[in-house]
Amino acid sequence: MITRDEFKTIAGNGIWKQNTSIAQILGLCPLLAVTTNAVNGIMLSLATILVMALSNVAVAALRNLIPHEIRIPVFILIVAALVTVVDLLFNANLHELYLVLGIFIPLIVTNCIVLARVEAFAAKNPPLQSTLDGIFMGVGMLWTLALLGGMRELLGSGTLFGGIDMVFPNLQPIQLLPESYPGFLLALLPPGAFILLGCMIAWKNWMDARAAARAQTKPPAPVATAGCH
């Protein structure tokens, strides 16, 4: 079973302390490519949460049976099987969104966040904790991608939740800025994603430094800037 403290640690790590996007800076490739609006970011994150939760529980359950030497190929096979399921689910039920997200759903297989959590957490912990870790790491990714996507969308085209009609056909995007807003195209292009992500990382470091100063302890070391892809 799981203690209250364990749950808190797992949730805190996933959502803030080891946030995949603004602390570990992993999975930059889908982050840059799909966060042109909040809906795309949220839907890709939901797909990733599903894959992470299922792959973590599968690996945690099988962790004592998988030979150590060939664990990575086995992990990848498990993740790939689950991604295929998610890919087919999206294709069948959210076909329009599937076309927008395109290659980035199959590419969840190679997303370093998934493999990193399987290798670093699920291979060493029981299934319940591993499931929670997968879910909360995904939730951390979800809110950062939603925020980044929302900011890019708002700056780039003045709308919020564009493309929501692909998920809920009876909802419409919100036009927040006047129709005459010329649109800051840069925000929708990769440089805009890099600049805004940089601002978010700076914001997280600033919040951490402030919290640390309040607690009268040493501030945490600045996050590494090297991502994986």
Binding site: P182, F184, L185, L186, A187, P191, I195
Partner: protein, 338 residues
């Protein structure tokens, strides 16, 4: 200038240098205002105000002394360079967006004066031409006579943006015409069109370039800049433009056209010579200037953008630290590469 030892004591504060840079821009600005009307002066004011406000806001947030940094004039020089590189009748918010981006993101977020790895004015240009390519390519046609009130109305968005405001620069017009004709039109035939082109380059624009050259030479005479960067920039531009011109004079404009078109002169004397984002060693400055001139030619002739100076300078800004590292002069009394 900022350079390695030996240092000589000189009466040069930042604000003094920046004031002289602004003075050196005056001949170019005068020619510009004569060419397109007083709109450019309005843009200079708008950009300066935006730059000072953005700078003041950022300094306040960081808790730095306002007066000292605002009075140093560096924000005004950035603002002027932005106003001079943007289309003169661009809407006010375009100039303000570019200026605020330059000051807030390209300058202050990197640590303020002296810390920015990229030339802020060129960051503003790159950002705006990527974000608003249509508006950044609309230049008023030469000879367009608009009263000051009309020009201000266009800038403030109170008057419609008519077709006469949406021309291309002579440099851009040349490239587009050559590309569309696909070899059936020669440069000489195009240059004969006296509506767009004068004796050497764009009609009227050649005098703006001459104004910048005059101001640049004065800065060199006052020792605000050294000869390295402008000479290397112009030299590289002349060599590559001249080479291609000799190879095929029908399809490549002559070097003089390229020197007096677009941002060549402004770039060679005022932008590539930025002491903060450029190189500091003498050999490094030569490499920096030559690289910027070469890249500017390649981007403006073979690329999709109207001019290449901004991207060329930004790309060379990226290389400046490495160039400086590799071109350290030998220590006095030691052998080279000791």
């Amino acid at each position: 200038m900022f350079a390695p030892a030996p240092f000589l004591l000189k009466d040069a504060s930042v604000s003094r240098v920046m004031t002289q840079v602004c003075l050196a821009l005056v001949p170019g600005i005068a020619a510009y205002a004569w060419l397109v009307g007083p709109a450019i002066l309005v843009q200079l004011v708008i950009a300066s105000l935006a730059a000072l406000l953005a700078e003041a806001a950022m300094l306040r947030v960081q808790g730095k002394p306002l007066g000292m940094f605002l009075a140093d004039g560096s924000a005004v020089v950035t603002a002027w360079l932005i106003a001079l590189t943007f289309p003169p009748l661009a809407p006010w918010w375009l100039v303000v967006t570019g200026t605020v981006f330059a000051i807030v993101i390209a300058k202050q977020l990197y640590g303020g004066l002296g810390q920015n790895p990229f030339n802020p004015a060129m960051v503003a240009f790159a950002v705006c031409i990527v974000a608003f390519p249509a508006l950044m390519s609309q230049w008023p046609s030469v000879g367009l006579q608009l009263s000051l009130a009309d020009q201000i109305n266009v800038i403030l968005g109170l008057a419609p943006r008519v077709d006469a405001l949406a021309g291309a620069t002579p440099l851009d017009a040349m490239k587009t015409a050559l590309k569309l004709a696909d070899g059936s039109v020669s440069v000489t035939q195009l240059l004969a069109n006296q509506d767009i082109y004068g004796n050497f380059a764009g009609r009227g624009w050649e005098w703006v370039a001459a104004g910048y050259l005059l101001g640049g030479l004065w800065m060199w005479q006052r020792k605000l800049i050294t000869w390295h960067v402008p000479t290397a920039f112009i030299g590289a531009l002349v060599v590559v433009a001249g080479g291609l011109w000799l190879y095929n004079p029908a399809q490549f404009a002559n070097p003089l056209f390229h020197l007096l078109s677009g941002g060549s002169m402004l770039g060679a004397f005022f932008i590539a010579t930025d002491p903060v984002s450029g190189c500091t060693t003498p050999r490094g400055k030569l490499i920096f200037g030559a690289g910027a001139g070469l890249l500017a030619y390649i981007i403006r002739v073979f690329g999709g953008y109207p001019d290449g100076v901004a991207f060329a300078v930004l790309l060379m800004n990226l290389c400046a630290p490495v160039i400086d590292l590799l071109t350290q002069p030998p220590i006095f009394g030691m052998k080279d590469k000791a």
